[in-house]
Symmetry: C2
Subunit: 386 residues, 2 copies
């Protein structure tokens, strides 16, 4: 390790934390710099002697660093990719050193809008700078440098995690041996921006939001955040999955009540999704992270030419989409493949047949697990890690 407080590779609790940017603040895309700031992260497995077996997992909008823990510190639920990451699993922690960091702007340990601005002694709130996917990745690169890792064996993640994986490969090609962006896109679509805007407006419409300064009023905009989560949650599922799981079945009743209670199971489920979300997520973080996704447009950073983002790349890519995902559809993932093909990159592409919608990347999808395991094993051989 280069420096600092973390010098072992066993897990600790609740998260490892490292302070970065203390001497030189990190420049952000918006034009200001941030520092010092904290990155909270988890690791699993052991770094090998030549530091060539590190896998960085990048999390989605409402994800976090607890990718393979037995119990999340807030929700108590298992890690969000615990079916994929662990001993003997496709991301095998007996072979690989797995790192997952809470994103910049997040609310589970890494500096975000709910944290204290060292310059004012008060929570940032809306004075937190608007960050981008590029900024998140820049902070992760500082973490990886801090850990003394020159090249990651693999960067992988789903949804917003895929955006980060693409940004890593475009920005630091020599530091990424392989990349597996899952159910992602090289830019956020108009429809997805629209859904994010609905969520933000729901939060901002809540009088308890107080212009982002709710902590000083000892409240949280839980109603607005709950509505935002409900709207978003529908987009994570497919119509087929909703029909299969709920259809028009009633919730603990035999007949319609002719009222506005949750008569239907799907209503009850959505309300539960909304109300539990507010216990684990910060409303301002939701604003900032959705904004970072909206701003993501990898081609725009290269004069509108997505292929130019990957010119000369030696990284091996595996792009995965899910057939019923309408939030990050196969067509958007195929656009990435076309750009990679245009620069003769090594790329494999699989559309996994699933009726589970965008959420499929978080669920038990054996076809997806096989694809990822095959890609990882193939790359490991090339890297001399077999």
């Amino acid at each position: 390790m280069n420096s600092g407080a973390t010098d072992t590779v066993t897990n600790n609790w609740p998260s490892r934390r490292v302070t970065l940017g203390a001497e030189t603040p990190m420049p952000l895309d918006c034009g200001v710099a941030i520092g010092p700031f904290t990155v909270a992260y988890q690791t699993y497995g052991s770094l090998n002697a030549d530091r060539s077996n590190a896998i960085l997992i990048t999390h989605a909008l409402t994800g976090d660093q607890y990718v393979a823990d037995e119990a999340h510190p807030v929700s108590g639920r298992p890690g969000w990719w615990n079916m994929l990451v662990g001993p003997g699993l496709p991301i095998d922690t007996d072979r690989f050193f797995v790192i997952c960091a809470n994103v910049l702007g997040g609310c589970l340990g890494t500096t975000g809008p709910k944290d204290i601005d060292p310059n004012t002694g008060k929570p940032y709130g809306l004075s937190f700078p608007v960050i981008t996917i590029g900024d998140m990745v820049r902070a992760q690169k500082m973490l990886i440098d801090h850990l003394g890792i020159e090249q990651l064996f693999l960067v992988t993640g789903g949804s917003m995690g895929a955006m980060q994986a693409l940004e890593w490969a475009a920005r630091y090609p020599d530091a990424v041996f392989a990349a597996a962006p899952i159910a992602g896109a090289a830019r956020h679509s108009a429809q997805n921006i629209a859904f994010h805007e609905v969520g933000r407006q729901a939060i901002m419409a809540d009088p308890d939001w107080h212009g982002g300064d709710y902590f000083s009023h000892n409240v949280v905009p839980s109603r607005g955040l709950s509505v935002a989560r409900m709207a978003a949650h529908i987009t994570y599922l497919s119509e087929a999955a909703l029909h299969r799981k709920f259809g028009r079945r009633l919730q603990n009743r035999d007949a319609l009540t002719y009222g506005f209670d949750a008569d239907f199971q799907v209503e009850s489920y959505l309300r539960h999704q909304g109300s539990t979300f507010v216990d684990r997520f910060d409303a301002n973080s939701y604003l900032y992270i959705t904004r970072a996704m909206d701003y993501f447009d990898l081609a725009a950073e290269h004069d509108g030419n997505l292929a130019a983002a990957f010119a000369g790349t030696k990284t091996r890519f595996c792009i995965v989409s899910f057939s019923s995902d309408w939030l990050f559809p196969t067509s958007e993932n195929r656009d990435i493949v076309h750009a990679l093909n245009a620069v003769a990159a090594s790329v494999s592409f699989v559309e996994v047949d699933s009726d589970k919608g965008h959420d499929a990347f978080l669920l038990d999808e054996p076809g997806f697990f096989e694809v990822l395991a095959g890609f990882i094993n193939g790359c490991a051989k090339h890297r001399g890690l077999a």
Copy 2:
């Protein structure tokens, strides 16, 4: 005409109104009865001598009776189907007598939750009974009886209007010579219930809603209603339409602002949709009408057998869907066709190729206009109206 205040067929302003259920209140599906109640409606064209040329147009969730007026009394915009209804148009007001009534529970003249409960002298608010598509149609039947029309030549409408057209044909088969349900479904899907529930929760989360009693507080829950409208509006469009109309283009600026203003045109457009909607629509009406759609399940009224709803029907049907409509997709419209085929009904079915999403039924879609004009002209010949 049988009775009452309306005895001419020229338009008046703002709407014709008739009081119904004064002597015998109208029974509702929820088990209570309502009466007296008002139905506000518009007519266009003239009823012929044998009263055989009447077309009832049934409106959608946020539609109203101003189907072909030059200017809506609130928004000032032209009638919502003015490209389809008028002299020489597919629904030709030189040949047909067109009726369109605001639905029960609505907020443009027909009795709804914002109106005064004659029993209390105060607005109904949430004491208004929860109504169904069946109840809306029952009230329309009373209007048609009042107008002295035994059989409608045609009942047609899109979206929730299609639900009403189906309900008409199932409940009063002898009173419906032809029916054209456009972009509809025989039941509301789990995904659609879910989106409605998000909208309702957004309204109810607004402190200005006051449990539905906002009028007595001299406020309206405009923030919640605006968010509800924004979420719903996305579902009316297709991803392709959003991409074509807006893509990632910026709104009156050359670069991202790194803030939470409406940087993107699609955000600005959605905000506008939300803010203008609250000027013309009542929040409680939105709750009641979305609930009526959620409750709609024509098969459930016939022991789960949709075909049984149409057994023995002599009505001629034309079912229309739009290829990019993901709210009321072609598959749901095809289910109606299969049920009609199972009872050997006269039915034609067309999926119109369009990238405009569900909204296509309100837009300039020449393919749709041709289909409807052809169906109407064919039926008119059979009815001796050619």
